[in-house]
Symmetry: C2
């Protein structure tokens, strides 16, 4: 059955793609064999992260971007297939926001060149980031050429998604706390492109200016830091060939399809930059390293816990609760007891 | 040296407390011995999480709450010592927001009964949540009676902090996207107390009403769900004694010290509820379980990686990058190669 689903995904069969992603959501382990078999066929897609606070109009923007890629013509000469993964890490218990997205995206659903999927959190955030990375692989192996990963909210979740994406778009909107304080420091490090959506609203120019100022400050005062890697200014020159990319700030009114082509142009320009500056290779390496770490952690825990009896575990928790034992010693004991994992 | 610092922390020496928290921030492992020795002395403090978006005035609120606890008199008959830990998980690279908090909190710094500390992210979010949990233990063992843990932003970070806290206050403010959409679904599950701060601003009553409506909906339509544990309605009656707590919604103007006593009253009422309904015991169990899981994961990874040579690791990453190998098989190989960890 596993080899069946692999062949079907490689043939681009939508139902197989959907089924495998559901397997990933329910239990990472079940899908591992298929993911391992699909892995050689991945690495082809351009992965574009789109992130921003609720109310910025991210979903509408993604819809419009997808339409441009599907349509072909300027700025993308021939149409490309598009995968969309909508993730809401801020809502670990209910899928409210995701439902709304799904309804909004229905207008795209008739197009066989588009695959849309919402991902819900079952377990921890780590679990969701991992599941999203695996879902991207499935769409990549199935032949989708551009994959949008849409995430709500700020914080670590954004950073995790940015690590997975080649190009990250940060969507802002005027009037949602448009003072400089509300624009998070962390956002500068993950944004490759800024979009000020709902640009017909009052305050759009202030938002653009605030971002511009932040970028100026950032470029002037800090070592070149992108995706967590500090570069010495000397390094930028001859040896590494890595030039700096200054994130463009683009105004859009996604609801009226305005300004969308310029964003697509910026996405394409960023991909060229990534390739020419060899940043793509570095980012891929970082991504693989962090993914291998996650998989290792899971594998080790799975093996350890499979050896521990439930009563034993419960007893341990109670003893720690009574402060008869500390959790560090308990962990060491559990690991050493088993010895071989 | 480790036993020295343990004694000094137990004696409440501020410099030892600060030093141990720095050790925790820099490298969890270095501090483990001391934390293990302090562990029997923990479990005394009331841990209060305070969370909300930037601009809601969280820090000012925490300052005011701390003052009421320090002052004594109504609603807290005798003064209590207060620890404050400010965490900003949305800013993994720079400590901008935290710096602001630190300046605002300076007015409390003269009081020997208050200990204030900002925590920065060095590594992953997981790392920060773990470091925060350990810092809480240090303050707890040092004798601080009420420990406020202040976090910026929404999302998984909030949920993680809520798991650590006994009582979680969610701070909202009017005008920061006060429509119902902006109030995240996840927030209902973590809030024990809602505060609508900056209540002199336009729209404060709308924010209160929106929260009220969400609580009504939540109470009417859903199984009793709190901190991720679903309870059957039958269970609520005789057997488990767990009654429901309906989060109060309180208006404050922290900048003018208005409405603060009511929040302190609610915090105290919630602690009594936790004890009487045996919810405290359940939450403690959950907290210990998730902490033991984290420590185990770290310990296993540490042991595994200590056996893998750097060249070996780099070579593996390159091979995965060239798609000659998939990360799942690579992880299995690494684990099985070592066999005994």
């Amino acid at each position: 059955m596993s080899s069946d689903i692999v062949e079907q995904v490689l043939a681009g069969e939508r139902r197989a793609v959907a089924r495998l992603i559901t397997m990933i959501e329910n239990d990472g382990n079940e899908a591992q064999e298929a993911l391992a078999a699909l892995y050689p066929y991945t690495g082809q897609a351009h992965i574009v992260g789109v992130t921003g606070a609720p109310g910025t109009g991210k979903s509408t923007l993604v819809n419009e971007l997808a339409k441009v890629y599907r349509r072909g013509g300027q700025p993308v000469p021939s149409p490309r297939t598009v995968g969309i993964i909508a993730v809401d890490p801020t809502s670990p218990f209910s899928g409210g926001a995701i439902l709304g997205d799904r309804i909004r995206m229905r207008e795209l659903a008739g197009d066989p060149g588009i695959f849309i999927r919402s991902m819900a959190t079952r377990g921890s955030l780590g679990g969701l980031a991992r599941a999203t990375a695996d879902a991207i692989k499935v769409l990549d192996a199935a032949g989708y050429q551009v994959i949008f990963v849409e995430t709500v909210g700020a914080g670590q979740a954004e950073v995790d998604i940015a690590k997975t994406a080649h190009t990250t778009i940060v969507v802002q909107a005027p009037g949602l706390g448009d003072d400089i304080q509300a624009i998070k420091a962390g956002i500068l490090e993950i944004a490759d492109i800024f979009t000020v959506n709902k640009a017909d609203r009052e305050g759009a120019d202030n938002t653009v200016m605030a971002l511009q100022m932040l970028l100026d400050l950032d470029h002037a005062s800090r070592p070149i830091l992108h995706h967590g890697v500090v570069m010495q200014s000397g390094q930028t020159g001859d040896s590494s060939q890595e030039q700096r990319w200054r994130p463009p700030i683009l105004k859009t009114i996604a609801l009226h399809s305005q300004g969308i082509e310029a964003v697509v142009e910026a996405i394409e320009a960023h991909l060229i930059y990534l390739k020419e500056s060899q940043t793509l290779h570095r980012r891929e390496r970082e991504r693989i390293e962090s993914e291998l770490n996650d998989i290792l952690q899971e594998e080790l825990m799975r093996r350890l816990l499979s050896r521990v009896k439930e009563e034993e575990w419960d007893e341990l928790i109670e003893r720690i609760g009574r402060r008869e034992m500390d959790p560090y010693s308990a962990a060491r004991e559990l690991v050493e007891e088993g010895r071989c994992v």
